[in-house]
């Protein structure tokens, strides 16, 4: 029993949900799967707004982009052929692989993002895919590039709005991607997770994204490492240089799971593994 909860609302439309969120302010939070918020309900929350009856559990494969509704479950993502086609299935791989079935059936992509936890697995993949999120607000919809979405530890740009969908621009057909997670077990939170996407042109890297999670207060792209790869072949000296840039630039947190030095080392190891995997 969660005694602090006083109300549970079932809005009939997204507009009504946004209106209720605005009325209740910080005392209300949206809920979809609930796997994150039910066991960790913030103390100020008195009211939950159910989003699961608003038809936001869709994956729409459009010409320019893939649109994924905020209440799409991790299981839906993991088995979607359209998601699997994006850069070697980098987002599919980040969809809570290894989690118990009952959690993957319920946890949603929107919840994974709005929770703002730096350890979540889908944010690095979405950063590597240049995703945008669509937030419904009182005045209309706002599009937010994913790199601007994570403001600080467990704080996102969604604010008093409600996350509606995630849009992923279609990468080139030849784009390759890798998601890697290192944790004590597949079910545990990542000590470090990483997603890399890359496009090659005549043997040279023409576009690359390197995104790390669980290492700082928010998931982040390592822009200098990306620049070091552009117009270069994926050869061992280039990879060595990128790995050294990553390990120098990251500013890892330390917590009960791992020291900062251990996370720094892991960031380099996972970067190397990902680049070698793409090169192969």
């Amino acid at each position: 029993m969660i005694r602090q909860l006083e109300e549970f609302l079932y809005p009939q439309s997204l507009a009504e949900a946004v209106q209720k969120k605005h009325e209740y302010g910080e005392a209300a939070a949206p809920i979809a799967g609930g796997t994150e918020i039910v066991p960790n309900l913030p103390p100020e929350i008195r009211c939950l707004i159910d989003l699961t009856r608003l038809g936001l559990d869709y994956i729409e494969d459009e010409a320019e982009c893939l649109r994924i509704g905020a209440t799409t479950t991790m299981h839906q993502l993991a088995v979607s052929p359209a998601v699997a086609k994006l850069a070697s299935g980098v987002l599919s791989s980040s969809s809570c692989q290894g989690w118990p079935t009952e959690v993957r059936n319920t946890a949603t992509l929107g919840g994974n993002l709005v929770g703002g936890g730096p350890f979540a697995d889908s944010p690095p993949a979405l950063l590597a895919l240049d995703a945008e999120v669509v937030v419904a607000r009182l005045g209309g919809e706002e599009r937010v590039p994913i790199q601007d979405f994570f403001v600080d530890y467990r704080r996102t740009a969604v604010g008093q709005g409600i996350l509606k969908e995630i849009q992923i621009p279609r990468p080139a057909a030849a784009a390759r991607g890798v998601f890697l997670k290192f944790g004590r077990s597949p079910v545990d939170q990542a000590l470090v997770n990483l997603a890399v996407t890359m496009e090659m042109d005549n043997g040279l890297c023409s576009k690359v994204r390197i995104a790390l999670g669980a290492i700082g207060r928010t998931p982040q792209r390592i822009l200098e490492a990306e620049r070091a790869l552009l117009e270069k072949p994926l050869e061992s000296d280039v990879i060595d240089n990128v790995v050294s840039i990553v390990t120098e630039l990251v500013d890892p947190v330390l917590d009960l799971r791992a020291s900062a030095d251990y996370r720094r080392e892991l960031a380099g190891v996972l970067t190397r593994r990902a680049l070698l995997q793409i090169a192969s």
Binding site: I2, E7, F8, V38, L48, D50, R53, P100, N105, T106
Partner: protein, 77 residues
Amino acid sequence: MRIELTLNHQARVYEVEPGTLLSELLQTEQGVWLEGRLVDASRMLAAQAHGRNVEFKAVEVSLPLQELLLAPEPTRC
């Protein structure tokens, strides 16, 4: 608050608190299917099941260790 759901194909109405867990309502943490999908009833509120089809199956777990302990000549370690 009042919630209505279908439990094992029978319509049911319950009075619950907004913070009541589904596992508390069903008095189980195992084998709960919501709209045909296995869910974790201890991480889900009863209110989330309003209007849904819920199936609740008792799950019998048979562990090798239990089998060893129950054997006529228990294995000694």
